[in-house]
């Protein structure tokens, strides 16, 4: 069977698409984690900065008209509990620095006294996150504006952020790998019914045209339906042509039988040697035609029955004996002796008796046909490993014929000369052998001239 050109693979496409999706998701996940985590870390730092600045601004008091501050220890240490970041602060009253780093810039924006103002700017060689909080203090009935700026470098934040990044990368990568593996499995799984269907169809014998009944997912139902209706049409076409052949053979054989009977009657009644000879020729021709028609019929029958074998246990020796008995008269006409050589042990096969008889008959018939008068035909049965029935004659042999071609329909060897035939005998035998899971072996007689055709069938 030849398969069409493959254009891509569904599985690969599924895997690639799912892989792309998971890659996108992984990246999105990574970015989301980073953004969220960094926001959280920044917020945490801002909160601590604000708490620090607030505790400083709350510690500002007035003492006999002077604004003073006792810098709370915790305001600074709370900033340095987790990280080893540098800390800067500045306290202003009405714009005048009263303590701290007086070169520390104020964060951009105005503190309204309600909320802290945050800013990030470079200071003394490093990025500084700063906050400013404000408070109004009444000093001798005069409102004084107190501003506190607290700043901290962002190394701790950087460390947290790089840790989060590392984790996010690790989780993203793991997610991607797992998802890709899963999508591979999913693709495999999705493809499985298709594979199963393909196997069911591929496993079928060459003539098996029964509808496919394997369970298929909804998506494959149209395909299966199409396949089944196609096979049904094919089967009908085949049946029709077989019917036609059967009918045709039948129609040819019946009148031929009448012609033969009449010719024989006339042959007996006439004494005229020339007429007698002509009549004999005629009878022989009728016989051949009838045989050909029979073979056509047989072939059609074999093709048909191969689909549904009616198998039973068969004793090979009985089968051979039966066929030999039936063909004995034909052989005797040519003074040919049919010798049967059987195995000591009974050899049994499982098969369709009618088909096997047909095959054997065709093979014995061939042997008789291609053997000269007064020779022996050896029919040998052996049960070694398989049931082997060899038909060995001392005739002309296959000569130069292409042995592989002889089993095709209507093909005849170059060695036929005057021997009439249809080219169907070996075809039938071969078809039967195959239908039974066996084979037909064609070779020359190993001992002397002649042919050796062996029908090999599996033992039951």
């Amino acid at each position: 069977m030849r398969s069409g050109d493959a254009t891509g693979s569904i599985k690969r496409r599924l895997v690639v698409q799912l892989g792309l999706v998971t890659a996108l998701l992984s990246i999105a996940f990574f970015l989301a984690v980073r953004v969220v985590a960094e926001k959280a870390a920044t917020d945490t730092q801002d909160n601590i900065l604000a708490a620090s600045a607030t505790s400083i601004v709350e510690a500002v008091y007035s003492d006999s008209g002077e604004v003073r501050l006792e810098l709370p220890y915790s305001a600074i240490t709370m900033l340095s509990t987790v990280s080893e970041d540098r800390v800067f602060y500045r306290v202003l009253v009405d714009g005048e620095t009263i303590t701290g780093y007086d070169d520390l810039p104020l964060p951009e924006g105005r503190a309204t006294g309600i909320g802290p103002v945050f800013d990030t700017y470079p200071f003394r060689g490093e990025a500084l996150r700063t906050v400013q909080v404000a408070r109004t203090l009444s000093v001798q009935d005069q409102p004084r504006q107190v501003n506190v700026v607290v700043g901290q470098t962002r190394l701790g934040l950087g460390a947290i952020s790089s840790r989060i990044t590392t984790n996010a990368v690790a989780i993203g990568t793991a997610f991607f790998l797992v998802a890709t593996a899963l999508s591979f499995l999913a693709a495999q799984n999705a493809i499985a019914p298709l594979d199963r269907l393909a196997q069911v169809v591929a496993r079928r014998g060459p003539n098996d045209l029964r509808p496919v009944t394997a369970a298929a997912p909804v998506e494959l139902v149209p395909l299966v339906g199409g396949l089944n209706s196609f096979m049904e049409r094919l089967r009908q076409a085949l049946t029709r042509s077989e019917d036609l052949i059967t009918e045709a053979a039948h129609r040819v054989r019946t009148p031929l039988a009448t012609v033969r009977t009449q010719a024989e009657v006339i042959h007996r009644q006439t004494d005229h040697p020339a007429s007698k000879k002509a009549l004999r020729e005629m009878i022989r021709a009728v016989d051949e035609s009838s045989r050909s028609a029979g073979q056509l019929l047989d072939h059609a029958m074999v093709t048909f029955r191969s689909d549904q074998l009616e198998t039973q246990e068969i004793n090979a020796a009985d089968l051979l004996r039966d066929v030999v008995d039936r063909l004995q008269p034909t052989a005797e006409l040519k003074d040919i002796h049919l010798a049967l050589e059987l195995d000591d042990d009974p050899v049994t096969v499982r098969g369709d008796i009618i088909l096997l008889q047909n095959a054997v008959r065709n093979l014995v018939d061939n042997a008789i046909k291609y053997s000269p008068a007064d020779t022996d035909i050896l029919i040998k049965l052996s049960g070694e490993g398989a049931c082997q029935m060899a038909f060995i004659d001392q005739g002309r042999g296959f000569g130069e014929a292409d042995l592989t071609q002889l089993t095709s329909r209507f093909s005849r060897g170059k060695n036929v000369d005057d021997v009439v035939g249809s080219g169907l005998g070996l075809t039938i035998a071969d078809d039967v052998a195959r239908a039974h899971g066996g084979a037909l072996d064609i070779c020359s007689n190993q001992e002397g001239p002649g042919a050796c055709v062996t029908l090999v069938l599996p033992l039951s």
Binding site: R68, L69, E70, L71, P72, A75, R86, V87, T99, Y101
Partner: protein, 342 residues
């Protein structure tokens, strides 16, 4: 100890803008010099010399220039003058932290610095290499027959009940002029509720104020002082041999442990060159011989539950709090009023 306070430093700044005021300076030449290490330190040459010599044994091609200045001079030199040094060693933890915090130190990291306990480094810039507890030094003669105070409340009780022994015979740092004294006092004020009470009692008994540990220990040895409070243990220990009349008492309730630290100034030629000295100091605990010779106890990891009352002063921006101009003014004002109320 050469601590002068931060305020003093500011005054100094106003007066002496200019060259660094060195107290001692010694050059340790080598036969075939490849490099030179310029050290600015607060520790006396005689104390530190064994460490330099041992360092040169490991680095035989390094000439060492060892300059000694007070902690405030070290600060001024590095902060204001941009004095060119490869390493700065100081007992003024607060000033070292300020230098690093304000961006005047270089970062350095190595296996040796990583192996230091977390509390002994800050920001990969300040590396502690000794831990020196503060102790009470008492005159055995003066305290004959009197129970030795083991805690601050016991000390207060003793001072209160025996003014006959202690009047004018208590020594402690003048926190206005001594950087170390200020550091210890401020740490005390955070760590023990008895600090202000103790200061008041000492003030009432006309305590004598000192600039440095050395003088205090000498005066206890002479019998001029009955006790000296908050003396650096390492100094007392090294004087023990030639000052027979003294006894060192470590308090049970709480002991401030000062960390002597090293940093690499931004003026250093290269952080890696200086790093060799940092590494040497960071692994001082592996050289018990040097610890014995210098009397500088090396940094060793604290074991949990071992001497919980010995608390290393925490390296970190917390130390900046008491350097705050206003906080310092307020603290000094309270201290002076406690000390001088008569």
């Amino acid at each position: 100890m050469r601590h002068i306070g931060f305020a003093a430093l500011l005054i100094l700044l106003a007066q002496t803008a200019g060259a660094l005021e060195l107290e001692e300076s010694r050059r340790y030449e080598v036969a075939d010099p490849q490099s030179e290490l310029r050290v600015l330190s607060t520790a006396d040459v005689e104390v530190f010399e064994p460490i330099i010599l041992a360092f040169q044994q490991e680095n035989p091609a390094t000439t060492v220039q060892y300059d000694v200045a007070s902690s405030s001079e070290v600060m001024r030199g590095l902060y204001e003058e941009g004095a060119a040094y490869d390493i700065a060693l100081s007992s003024a933890m607060d000033l070292q932290i300020k230098l690093a915090n304000d961006g005047l130190a270089l970062s350095y990291s190595s296996a040796a610095t990583e192996s230091l306990p977390g509390w002994a480094t800050w920001h990969d810039q300040v590396f502690a290499f000794t831990q020196e507890p503060t102790v009470l030094v008492i005159s055995k003669a003066a305290l004959e027959g009197v129970p030795v105070p083991r805690s601050r409340s016991a000390l207060i009780e003793l001072l209160r009940t025996r003014p006959d022994i202690f009047d004018s015979r208590i020594g402690t740092y003048d926190v206005r002029t001594s950087g170390a004294g200020y550091l210890f006092a401020t740490q005390d004020s955070r760590n023990t509720e008895n600090f202000w009470q103790l200061t008041e009692v000492m003030g009432r008994l006309n305590a004598r104020l000192y600039c440095c540990s050395g003088q205090m220990i000498r005066d206890v040895g002479d019998g001029r002082l009955a006790i000296a409070y908050n003396v650096l243990g390492s100094y007392a220990q090294s004087r023990l041999a030639d000052t027979p009349g003294i006894e060192i008492v470590e308090m049970d309730d709480y002991v401030s442990v000062m960390l002597r630290s090293a940093l690499i100034p931004v003026t250093a030629r290269s952080a890696d060159e200086s790093g060799r000295m940092i590494d040497f100091l960071a692994t001082l605990s592996a050289r018990p011989d040097l610890v014995a010779q210098t009397g500088l106890p090396a940094v060793v990891p604290l074991r949990p539950n071992e001497a919980p009352e010995r608390r290393p002063i925490r390296l970190g921006p917390g130390l900046l709090v008491f350097l705050d101009k206003m906080r310092r003014e307020t603290f000094l004002r309270s201290w002076v009023s406690s000390m001088e109320q008569r």
